[in-house]
Amino acid sequence: MSVTEITKLEFDQMVQAAAVKLNQKAEFINSLNVFPVPDGDTGTNMSMSMASGAKYEAEVESDAVSDLSAALAKGLLMGARGNSGVILSQIFRGFAKGSEGVNTYDAKRFVDAYANGAQTAYKSVMKPTEGTILTVVRESAQAGLDLVKAGETDLVVIMEKIVDAADAALAKTPDLLPVLKEVGVVDSGGQGLVFVLHAFYEALTGQVLEEDAKLDLAQMDEMINAEHHQSAQGKLDPADIKYGYCTEIMVRIGRGNSVTQAFDYDTFYNHLAELGDSLLVINDDEIVKVHVHTEHPDQVLNWGLQFGDLRKTKVDNMRWQQESIMDQDEPVAEPSDQQPSTRR
């Protein structure tokens, strides 16, 4: 299908879709939040900001996208929460400014507005940090501009390219921002914007992007990395660790000789929830992957065996890991009755 014009109808749908998607993905985005402060609120902030924007946009009577985008921008400004909310509000502020006097978007006008959004976003900070949402918006806008310049008029094609460019820019963020690489996640704000763009694409085409339909296993790895980073940051005393074994198993559903029951997500999940905390369970048709902190890794493995064979297992002793981290950092305490060392 091809779309050459975005009218009030399409724009309304795009905005609503973005708000819904951010709401669905808020928890996941929260888990990626390690920059600038690892406080795990990027997802919630972006979701609430966009919800405010969508609300204002929905209340506008006018048919002109200039008015609709202005309302979206105003809603985002009024409801902006957190650093990421402010940046999102600036992107759409520029977008609205670039939409002045426009009744409906054609390819050129839409991309120009989006590019204006990217420019405005960069202007409101003294030292723009690359490897963040700024990189994603800039590179995706550039992709759009290149296509329009080459004569493309189909907004579906353009939106698809914008989404691709955004995905690529997001994947690159760990290379641009060292702390992301250290932790093993992509930038949370950037991920939020990527979801917004995915939502725009889905609204335009009526198709759901497969990768968003459910969390995939790579995303689960990111969530695990981010979570371990946060507890390492807290400098836990090993004695405070309640569930000592970080246990991960990958079960091939229905395979092998040990199977005693058919896989049902809720049954599987609920039993594991009683064995420990920091539980993550993700599955597709063939495998289910589990991450849990528990005192009984054997029970986790046994439970997995009820449903299939174990493709991979990993059990780490977190108390021992924490002790090693702490030994590196702190100077050894001197016993009080020790002779003072002689100066050299």
Binding site: P36, V37, D39, L77, M78, A80, R81, G82, N83, G85, V86, I87, S89, Q90, R93, K97, T120, K123, S124, V125, M126, K127, T129, P331, A333, E334
Partner: protein
Amino acid sequence: MSIKIKNNSGMIDISNDVIATVVGGAATDMYGVVGMASRKQVRDSFNQILGRDSYQKGVVIKQQGDAITVEVSIIVSYGTKVSEVSKSVQKQVKYSLQSMLGIEADAVNVIVQGVRVVGE
């Protein structure tokens, strides 16, 4: 003037200039902050004349006993939600002080001195 931390191994002395620089660096990195407003004219003009890149501009460190108060005077970008930008500055400054210097700030006060329209 400096902040002194005493522990088992001895004393750690971090000068106010260092603290101000860390704070200034954290604040200028924040989205929505487009400038710092000088509150200490002599110090900041001096740095400017000497051609030094000073992150200390707009930052004042106060210490009363064990309590450390940081004051940051910022200029924000017109069109951003000022309250959120300020909250982000507070959070970032507090976090940077803790992670880079190991200092717990009792209060981080943000003074929005000005608003600048950035090229529309």
